[in-house]
Symmetry: C2
Subunit: 126 residues, 2 copies
DNA sequence: TCTTACATGTGTGTTTTACATGTATCGACC
DNA sequence: GGTCGATACATGTAAAACACACATGTAAGA
């Protein structure tokens, strides 16, 4: 059994920390990277930290997410055998993916405003 | 039963929307409200939208969260029978709760920076 | 041959959130 | 005096999001 759950981990903030991650942030992050240029999973995995920072994305979940995005036709992919080494699945964003990204951007802007309000209210009565 | 899963709900953004909520945002929100003044659950439920906006908090989850916070001694409570109507459980923030709130604030600031970087990068290659 | 980096995945448990429901007090209104 | 709505606090359970562990294979280089 687990001695103490991750809940207590987060609250013993001396050692561990509260992250305040945006839910499913990996999704817009992937769409943004793919809008800049097509890429394969492992490549995205390495570039994601530029956007996610401390809020890392699990490798396993990344690959699952990519396939889920493809199922919904937000990205498309094809196997790339050209370069040496193991075959890669090369992903590209679709028009539907670009439209969803736009909606994520709007939602993230609203999220920024909410958090800004919170922080202002915190500072007000310091 | 629901014909289509919530995943598609979110992606058919014409009708439904991406929210980009901060994970467990209800927790710092409650702590902030309680730092301003002690209050009971139903009262907090009504004041939460000032902070959470569109990202509403479920009543059931709110009461569970309050009890979890109390178990970790981040808030304290006592029954209040004085006023008319059903008895209320009056919550107050503890020193440990105030320290955790401070850590949430720092995490939220880092979250703001991450999201700002994301939005800037989006706008750059519009 | 053994290790390391590249590359893509599956299995499964834990945590977080959503949705539905249950219980009880009390004032207002008919 | 009955029932409606607002107040007030909860539990049960399902689903979604996320974490952790592991499996599989290619290829370069020590």
């Amino acid at each position: 059994m687990r001695g103490r759950g991750p809940r207590s981990r987060r609250h013993h903030h001396g050692r561990w920390s509260v992250l305040a991650r945006v839910e499913r942030f990996a999704e817009p992050a992937l769409l943004l990277l793919l809008r800049e240029r097509p890429a394969h999973g492992y490549d995205l995995l390495e570039r994601l930290p530029e956007l996610t920072g401390e809020a890392r994305v699990e490798m396993g979940n990344l690959y699952r997410l990519l396939r889920a995005l493809e199922e919904e036709e937000l990205v498309s992919s094809e196997w790339d055998d050209s370069s040496p080494g193991p075959a890669k699945r090369r992903y590209a964003i679709t028009p539907a993916g670009e439209r969803l990204l736009e909606h994520w951007v709007e939602a993230l802007q609203r999220s920024q405003e909410r958090t800004a309000r919170f922080l202002t209210r915190y500072e007000e009565r310091r």
